[in-house]
């Protein structure tokens, strides 16, 4: 224990108790099967993973990926301008700006989802106003479809995109933009050639936060998607709560986790080749 290895003991212990052991339990359960009454029997079988190959589950997985992908792209497109305008505010207004972005977190997420229901449903705020104005004659169906799910996801995850992008824009050296202008770059070109590549780490961090969160999201599809739109998160939730099939739920969780991991690794790989290993260069210097 000469090298102070004991100092990492609390961290190791913490990781074991709250992360590694629970994870191992999930892995173990995923290889078990269940009795008709939902009891878990450890008989080490692959059947849970084999079940996953059914067309139904594959399509749910595929749909989850599509929704997560669209959510991520839209939050980037919406989040970047928001982060940009906060970073361009005078210093004393930046903090309040960030607080406003985070303010929704002060209210329980479930309640916020129901608030969307009140706004969007047939007798909801929007429909009532449109009907009163005579712009429509029958209420618009805005809830319980994929659009509603997307809206809910984007609403819920936008702050996770805004914050990391804000940080990277805030750290960007303004003099680089002056240098670009001095060298003949009009503002849009300077944005494309300088700002965007240099704020890529923020976009990357936001992408990972949003993408992973939207893969596992189940409250939004539940509340705003109705029964029609099941995503992988709902499927897993169902296995544990309604179907009482913990082994299959565990197997789905593991597949989801592995898939996320693989996607993140791929993503970083692509990002790194684009940057031409700029980070490696930094390490040398």
């Amino acid at each position: 224990m000469k090298n102070g290895k004991l100092l990492v003991a609390p961290t190791v212990l913490w990781l074991c108790v709250f992360f590694i052991i629970p994870m191992l339990i999930v892995v173990a359960v995923s290889f078990a099967s269940r009795t008709p009454y939902g009891q878990v029997v450890f008989n080490w079988t692959f059947s849970n993973y084999q079940r996953f190959a059914e067309a139904l589950y594959i399509s749910i997985f595929g749909q989850t990926l599509v929704v997560a992908f669209i959510t991520t792209v839209v939050t980037i497109l919406m989040g970047y301008p928001v982060a940009w305008s906060i970073a361009k505010l005078p210093k004393k207004w930046q903090q309040p700006g960030l607080v406003i972005v985070m303010a929704p977190f002060w209210i329980n997420f479930l309640i916020r989802s129901y608030a969307w229901v009140i706004i969007l449903r047939s007798q909801g705020v929007i429909n009532t106003i449109l009907l009163k104005l005579g712009l429509i004659t029958t209420p618009l169906q805005m809830l319980y479809n994929e659009g509603a799910v997307m809206l809910g996801m984007i609403y819920a995850l936008l702050p996770f995109m805004v914050l990391p992008i804000y940080v990277s824009i805030e750290q960007l050296d303004r003099r680089l933009l002056e240098a670009a202008a001095d060298l003949g770059a009009a503002p849009m070109t300077a944005f494309r050639k300088i700002t965007l590549p240099l704020t890529m780490p923020g976009i990357a961090a936001g992408t990972i936060l949003v993408f992973i969160s939207s893969l596992g999201m189940f409250v939004v599809p539940d509340v705003m998607g109705g029964a029609k739109s099941a995503l992988i998160g709902n499927l897993i939730q169902n296995q544990f709560l309604s179907a009482r099939d913990w082994p299959f739920g565990s197997a789905l969780s593991i597949v989801l986790a592995v898939l996320s991991l693989v996607l993140i690794m791929l993503y970083y790989k692509v990002l790194n080749t684009q940057k031409g290993g700029a980070d490696d260069a930094k390490d040398v210097a």
Partner: protein
């Protein structure tokens, strides 16, 4: 000589702060002009206005006969070397230098030719592929110069380009920069607060304080005929002597000392009679010289003179001395 830049009635306010009250200045083609002054004197603001990074509150900026006052920086034929280089960290040396040429859509063959030329000129050929973070301060500085020069600007603007470097390197790069400017025949506008740098490099120095030009002239004139107290104090060392209604500035190297008993009134001397008497209060070793500090009898003011290593007379603390100078060396300055 042809004029390259004319600043006509320039003023600049930041909010309620008046940084530059009316200023006029012409800069000739091919000139190495230095804006010299303490920090906050408006020299960098002036440079940034020429670059287009700031807009003057009133007044006109004429570049090579064309009014560019309201032209954005990316449409001006000037380039700037920034104080901390502002190199693009996600591009290597070559890409940094190419940047301006790409923006101006210079044909590929010509661009490649010009890039290799400046790489050769700034001795950066072997660093082509390096990223700025992998280079020393001096090398980064060269990249910044190459990146500006490659665009063949009408004027190169340099904002304290050597400020972040150590003394030895600074000396070396001062010479390199001066030679580069001379061989290219380019107009350089150089901002610095380092008076030594200004004196060694410039064709012409403009000394500024609080946004006002204090003196504008050849380095020799700035040093030997300072117009006012500020210039005399800011450039080199100066002693001030009040004689009647006038103030005279004298460089320490122009002051001569004699032992009081040898040159008191009535004594025959081979030099002009001393104007002031005092006591030596301190002697400090400075390498090539010693500085001798003398407190004057009548005013309690401390003045400084030099003692050279080969001087026969070595002064000691508490020596009583007379101070004399040749009339041609005293410069009458405005307050």
């Amino acid at each position: 000589m042809e004029q390259m830049i004319q600043l006509e009635g320039i003023t600049k306010k930041f909010g309620a702060n008046l940084i530059i009250p009316t200023l006029n200045l012409s800069i000739n083609d091919g000139e190495f002009l230095t804006l010299l002054g303490p920090s906050g004197c408006g020299k960098t603001t002036l440079l940034r206005m020429i670059a287009g990074l700031e807009t003057p509150t009133t007044g006109k900026i004429i570049l090579d006969g064309k009014d560019v006052t309201h032209l954005p920086p990316y449409k001006r034929d000037v380039n700037m070397v920034f104080q901390n280089y502002a190199l693009f960290p996600h591009m290597n040396v070559e890409e940094n230098i190419y940047f301006g040429l790409k923006m101006k859509k210079v044909p590929e063959a010509e661009a490649a030719e010009r890039v290799s030329q400046v790489l050769y000129l700034t001795q950066l050929e072997e660093f082509r592929e390096r990223r700025p973070q992998q280079m020393s301060g001096g090398q980064q500085q060269r990249v910044a110069i190459a990146r500006a020069l490659v665009n063949n600007p009408k004027v190169l603007l340099l904002d304290e380009p050597l400020g972040a470097l150590d003394y030895q390197l600074r000396k070396k790069l001062q010479l390199e920069l001066k030679n580069l400017q001379r061989s290219l025949g380019l107009t350089f506008i150089y901002v610095t607060h380092d008076q030594e740098e200004a004196l060694t490099m410039s064709d012409r120095i403009v000394v500024m304080n609080k946004g006002v030009i204090q003196q504008d002239g050849h380095p020799d004139a700035i040093y030997h005929q300072p117009k006012n107290k500020f210039v005399a104090k800011f450039i080199g060392e100066s002693n001030f002597f009040e004689m009647g209604d006038s103030v005279y500035a004298l460089r320490p190297e122009k002051l001569n000392l004699c032992l009081e008993e040898d040159c008191v009134e009535g004594k025959e001397t081979q030099h002009p009679a001393p104007q002031f008497f005092g006591s030596v209060v301190d002697i400090v070793f400075y390498g090539t010289i010693d500085k001798v500090f003398i407190r004057l009898d009548n005013s309690n003011q401390v003045v400084v003179a030099y003692q050279y290593f080969d001087d026969v007379k070595r002064w000691k603390v508490d020596d009583r001395v007379g101070i004399w100078w040749y009339e041609r060396d005293g410069v009458k300055v405005e307050q």
